[in-house]
């Protein structure tokens, strides 16, 4: 049975899947972010960045490795771990 995980993810058959292309990404019930494509961009390089933004802070973009859909983002310093969001299924 298909269960919603977020606006961009669902779980089915014990797997977390991309809501756009249904690609299986990671086992359900755990962290999925290490199993998908990650691209980072410096926040200071984004349009509209302020005059005083921390030079090291990045926007992590977690993407479906199949369709490239953006699944989640987080603002982070490079040394900080991924945020863990786990829905019990």
């Amino acid at each position: 049975m298909r269960k919603r995980i977020s606006a961009s993810l669902f779980a089915e058959g014990g797997q977390i899947c991309c809501a756009t292309c249904s690609r299986q990404l990671a086992p359900a019930g755990g962290s999925w972010k290490t199993k998908v494509a990650l691209s980072t961009v410096l926040v200071g390089q984004l349009p509209g960045a302020g005059t005083n933004v921390e030079t090291r802070v990045v926007l992590r973009r977690f993407c479906c490795p199949q369709c490239g859909h953006l699944l989640d983002t987080e603002t982070a310093l490079p040394e900080d771990p991924f945020l863990e969001d786990v829905v019990r299924v």
Partner: protein
């Protein structure tokens, strides 16, 4: 013991009367107060409490005060046991007892009926000044609580209806603008008086047992309804991380919210140790901070009372930035660690709601996440000392929702009635002139649904007897975005504070610049401390937008184009973030498709995490 039986109509009438009691007390507070921060910015709160101090009817205003004022009532009950009389009124503003910071003064009043304590009313305003190191209450220069002004863990201000003149004069003797603080205090006294009168009228009409039974039913009902809602939501845990920066030091508020069955636990383990700067907050402040978004996001149709509090647990490590120990400074807490707790709780609750088919439409990205809280002070055009906040800090910006964009300049989650004053109101109080004030391009977090835009403004001194004015800035949001996105949405922009040093030849020349780029002079980014606004110098401020939701490449190109036309996003953002290419003010469909494909490919070329 079973209480009196009650028909549902009577219950409903009493419930609504309680709402009206609070509402009328809020109106009283606003009408009597002379401070823009209260009657324009709505930095206020009024609520009713049970005889034991627990929350009975949470009112509007800054919601992180609802639980803290409950603790204030309980502290007064403990401290004044056996000495709480009819017509008494108590003042409390110690952050280590219950308050959020010293300048948010609680006035709490017992309500007696037939000689018996039956309830409490409580309210707060951010008083004009509290005698801290820096005018206005936010004290970036403070090194401990002792330098943050007058602080009371509980004092009787009114004794059986008689104002204690000695206490009154002592307080006013310790603040910079005693006449304004007196008006602030009188507005709260009036507010409590109205709350008491209306509560007594309610009890006189229905009888104390019936009203008491209705109140207990309300609390039971709220608890049952929230627990039912929680059971409908998925179990799991969600995290959020907020960064604050002060003078080169970086602090984190880390939240793990765990939902299990009909309970929610907010665990701040992993947050930074307490700071030497005044961005810390006490544990009561953190508790209030997490409830501020919880009330509107999970209890939008549930009465905000003690019943809502029961299913919630908070873990806040002692000695951390979210549970600091005395005498750590906390005067910037409400726009520092508390607001980060607000944001983190908003983010995790949003993620939980987004994981539910039933409640996904209630999810939101983080709203305006960072007050800029600039307090100006100095002699105004009438030669009087003026101290007050730039109320644009309350203008806010809505976070995106799962079905719509966030509202531009759309307020904030912790205060459903926050707003900013008219430009003319501020110009009438302070010797300044606005150059411009408007929505800010590229401030709303990109997404399929865009975060609401924040704003930008610039001011110069005008008609100032001393050649200008000074201001206190407690900025800690210029380095890191704090309005987190959701489900692939980007965060909203950051705050900025720019001191533009006028070129020498520009002194004493009026200017009418319409953007930061066209204000002549050398720009200096500032964020923490006291600064002058003198001569022809200018102060430019921008405030953050709300977070976005969903992949920006999924935003309909026509909406992107409309955003460009409205000045809400730049052509650069349209191309680089949204992948939309224009051709003579229309969407170039083919080029847009190619661009979006290439942007998706670029994401994938980074490989697995």
């Amino acid at each position: 013991m079973k209480g009196p039986s009650m028909d549902p109509v009577t219950f409903s009438i009493i419930r609504h009367r309680l709402f009206r009691v609070v509402e009328e007390a809020v109106i009283t507070l606003k009408h009597v107060s002379g401070s823009a921060i209260t009657n324009e910015g709505h930095d206020l709160m009024v609520s009713l409490y049970q005889a034991d101090g627990s929350l009975l009817m949470g009112g509007v205003g800054f919601l992180h005060h609802l639980t803290s004022a409950a603790e204030a009532c309980k502290a007064i009950i403990r401290k004044f046991e056996g000495r709480i009389g009819e017509g008494d009124l108590f003042l409390l503003n110690d952050p280590y007892t219950a308050a959020l910071h010293t300048s948010d003064i609680y006035l709490v009043a017992p309500i007696h009926h037939g000689g018996k304590l039956v309830a409490w009313s409580a309210c707060f305003v951010h008083v004009s000044d509290i005698g801290a190191m820096n005018p206005g209450g936010f004290a970036p220069d403070a090194q401990d609580i002792f330098t943050e002004g007058f602080s009371s863990p509980g004092i009787k201000l009114v004794d059986r209806g008689e104002l204690r003149q000695d206490v009154w004069e002592t307080i006013l003797n310790m603040v910079r603008s005693p006449e304004m603080v007196a008006l602030d205090l009188r507005s709260m006294i009036a507010c409590n008086n109205v709350a008491r009168e209306r509560m007594l009228a309610l009890i006189d009409k229905y009888g104390a047992p019936i009203v008491d039974a209705a109140c207990k039913m309300l609390i039971d009902q709220s608890e049952a309804r929230l627990r039912e809602r929680l059971r409908e939501l998925p179990d799991g845990h969600w995290q959020s991380r907020q960064y604050l920066e002060v003078k080169g030091e970086i602090y984190k508020v880390l939240l793990t919210m765990t939902k299990s069955g009909d309970t929610l636990t907010f665990d701040f383990t992993g947050s930074s140790p307490q700071s030497k700067y005044s961005v810390n907050c006490s544990k009561w402040a953190s508790l209030g901070g997490l409830f501020a978004p919880l009330f509107p996001l999970l209890c939008y149709d549930i009465v905000w009372n003690e019943g809502v509090i029961k299913p919630i647990t908070m873990i806040a490590p002692e000695g951390s930035i979210v549970n600091c120990t005395r005498p750590a400074p906390v005067s910037v807490a409400t726009v520092g660690a508390i607001q980060s707790v607000n944001n983190a709780a908003c983010s995790t609750i949003g993620k939980m709601l987004a994981a539910s088919d039933k409640y996904a439409d209630e999810a939101t990205a983080v709203w305006h996440a960072n007050h800029f809280a600039i307090f100006m002070f100095g002699n105004n055009q009438r030669g009087r000392l003026a101290i007050g906040i730039l109320t644009e800090t309350f203008a806010g910006a809505g976070g995106a929702r799962t079905f719509a964009d966030g509202v531009d300049i759309g307020g904030e989650i912790p205060n459903p009635i926050s707003r900013m004053a008219n430009v003319e109101t501020i110009e009438a109080q302070f010797p300044i002139r606005y150059l411009f004030r408007r929505r800010l391009t590229d401030s709303g977090g990109p997404g399929q649904y865009r975060g609401g835009a924040g704003g930008e403004m610039a001011i110069v001194a005008h008609d100032a007897p001393d050649g200008g004015i000074h201001y206190v800035v407690s900025g800690k949001g210029t380095k890191f975005p704090q309005s987190e996105g959701l489900g692939g949405g980007y965060p909203g922009g950051v705050n900025d504070y720019v001191w533009i040093h006028a070129p020498h030849e520009m002194h004493d020349v009026d200017r009418f610049a319409q953007s930061l780029d066209t204000i002549p002079g050398d720009s200096e980014s500032i964020s923490w401390g006291v600064f002058p606004l003198m001569g022809s110098d200018a102060l430019y401020i921008r405030w953050n937008g709300g977070g976005g939701i969903g992949d920006p490449l999924e935003r309909p190109p026509e909406k992107v184009l409309a955003d460009i036309d409205a000045g809400l996003i730049s052509e650069r953002a349209a191309s680089e973030v949204y992948g939309v290419i224009q051709n003579e003010k229309t969407v170039d469909g083919a080029a847009t498709k190619t661009k979006r494909t290439s942007l998706r490919q670029a994401r994938l070329s980074s490989g697995a995490a």
